[in-house]
Amino acid sequence: MKKLIASVQKEFLLLMRDIEGVILMFFMPLCLVVVITLLQHRTFQNLEEIKIPIVIVDLDNDSLGIAFRTGIRNSRMFEVTEITDHDPNTLNEARRNVANGKYQIGILIPENTTSAIKNRAIGLVQKQLPLNITTLINQHDKQVVIMLFFDPITKMSFRDLARSKLNEFASQTETRIIFLTYSKAIDALTNQSSEIVFPKEPIITFKEDLVSEYTGGITPNSVQHNVPAWTLFGMFLICIPLAGNIIKERNDGCMARLKTIPVSYLGIMSGKSFVFIVICLIQASLIILVGIFLMPLFGLPKLVINNNWGALFTITLASAFAASGYGVAIGTIASTHIQASTFGSVSTVILAAIGGVWIPVMIMPDIMRRISDFSPLNWGIRGYYDVFLRNAGITEILPGALKLFTFYIICTAISLLFRKYSATR
């Protein structure tokens, strides 16, 4: 224990003598979190609230056209521009605006679309009713072509959405007309006149409850994702200064001296790990504070942490252990600073990418989701998601935390074995 304390003291002093380096260790991840969160905010809005610009040229201006425009407007997914005049240049201009990216989708509802639907509906009804009560509509099936034109970069999902909305409103209009026609026919048969009031609300409604793996009341947003994700990234980047510290100690000959002293390599490395774990914890705390207090000043959502302090500390500590173990392994195995910094930075970026730091795992393809299971950053992010989004306690995050602690043990074991092997060279 005395030796461990001496090692911790020494590492602490060395760090304090490089105060600029320490400030950078804290400041750079903070900058990273703020910048990336601001950048990714738009992407997350796409997932939840961004509106697709759409232009509707409604030459019909009857039931279908109005219902469609109203429905689209009310869906809150589109930023709708409506054009209802009959200027022949209108369509061309709308097409141009879609082509130049002003709108992602353009929809032309031609003249008499509602009439065509009405005629078809009445025709269907007439076939079922006695001739003497049929209304005098010269019906014939005339196909109506609603034109949809898209900006080439429009996502297929948005195209499908526009198409399905149109179909939905066309069906609704048709159903309404069929019902009205039948109703009028029945009135004629019974010599009554009844007023039909269509209910404003549909009989079937949907109640949405966020019960996915990652939600428990809080929708993942750029802050809820980026703060834990980049906290972990920052922690794992600690591997570079930590590995550099080990390599410098070796190059200076201090490690050789330590090898001749009755102190174990594990003891020396534990001293380093302890100090860097503390740095990781401070770093994580600062980033979380930034998420809570600074992010809203940039117009971003506030980080919600759910007050499960025990679980939050456990997952942060486990991640800090994993990151320091990784740094010790790199520092022990790499022979030069260049090797350590190149491998450390690139491998951390790779682990972050597959772990869901850049793109949340939930929107990754299936194969990447499986691969992400092997990244310690993913174990950490899952733990943070559990705490921040699912209000999870220590028990729930324990499996992930144990994986991270195991990662630390494995990294340390690899370091010790490599150290032993290198003595025989």
Binding site: K3, A6, G253, P262
Partner: protein, 251 residues
């Protein structure tokens, strides 16, 4: 010096991975308690490798080493308790002060704080560094660094001290201080194993020497006896050149 063999080396060989030629080739030596044993030889002769094996920094390829009765392969942790190592490198933390460096290494030897502080003060005083106690190593001259480097290896009062070119880069004054201090250690009964290219120092310090070249020991004996065996040699340097040749050893 007495007759007790404190280091017993038998057929020691070290071949580095990927090399065909051994760096240390089947050497056998007996070093007595209390003596100052010098190992001299040109660059690449195997001096540092021999010392590195003896202090546990490298594993030997074959052979046996006993230090103070302990087997080097099996009892390294025990051996580490009573040996001190002064390497060619300045093995100090440059951003720490002289005191902080010595305190750290002393604590690793389990010396209690009070005793350690007293040892540090006394040693710093002895080597003329007390007033620089709280100066960072990075601000020290080469000679000062060498002296602190030496002190870091003797804090725990080792029974055996391995010194690998401990005065490289020192000015004459520092060299003299270090040499005098090593003589004091010798008088106090510490066994010193010393490598150097400075024949003058070796001649003044060492009770016996081995001349090494190409990983082998060419001759062993007291400086005087070795010189006297070669009538054309007037000094240790003459003897050294005679035994190892004048060819440059760049690798």
């Amino acid at each position: 010096m007495n007759d007790k063999v404190i280091i017993d080396i038998t057929n020691l060989t070290k071949v580095y991975n990927g090399r065909l030629e051994p760096a240390v080739d089947n050497i056998s030596l007996e070093i007595y308690e209390g003596e100052v044993f010098g190992i001299v030889g040109p660059n690449g002769a195997g001096k540092t490798t021999t010392l590195s094996v003896l202090c546990g920094l490298l594993k030997s390829t074959s052979g046996a080493v006993k230090i103070n009765g302990f087997d080097l392969d099996h009892d390294l942790n025990e051996i580490k308790k009573f040996i001190g190592v002064i390497s060619q490198d300045i093995a100090l933390y440059e951003k720490l002060t002289a005191y902080e460096n010595l305190y750290y290494f002393g604590r690793l030897f389990d010396i209690n704080k009070k005793e350690l502080n007293s040892i540090i003060d006394s040693l710093l005083n002895r080597l003329g560094l007390y007033k620089y106690k709280n100066e960072k190593i990075v601000n020290f001259s080469g000679g000062m660094k060498r002296r602190i480097n030496l002190l870091a290896g003797v804090l725990h009062n080792p029974k055996i001290l391995f010194l690998d070119e401990p005065v490289t880069g020192c000015d004459v004054q520092s060299r003299i201080v270090i040499r005098e201090y090593l003589l004091e250690l010798k008088l106090s009964g510490t066994t010193l194993i010393y490598t150097s290219h400075l024949m003058d120092d070796v001649e003044k310090l060492c009770t016996r020497i081995s001349v090494m070249d190409y990983g082998r020991i060419i001759q062993t004996g007291t400086p005087t006896s070795l010189i006297s065996q070669h009538s054309d040699c007037l000094s240790l340097e003459d003897l050294f050149l005679k035994l190892t040749g004048r060819n440059l050893r760049d690798l």
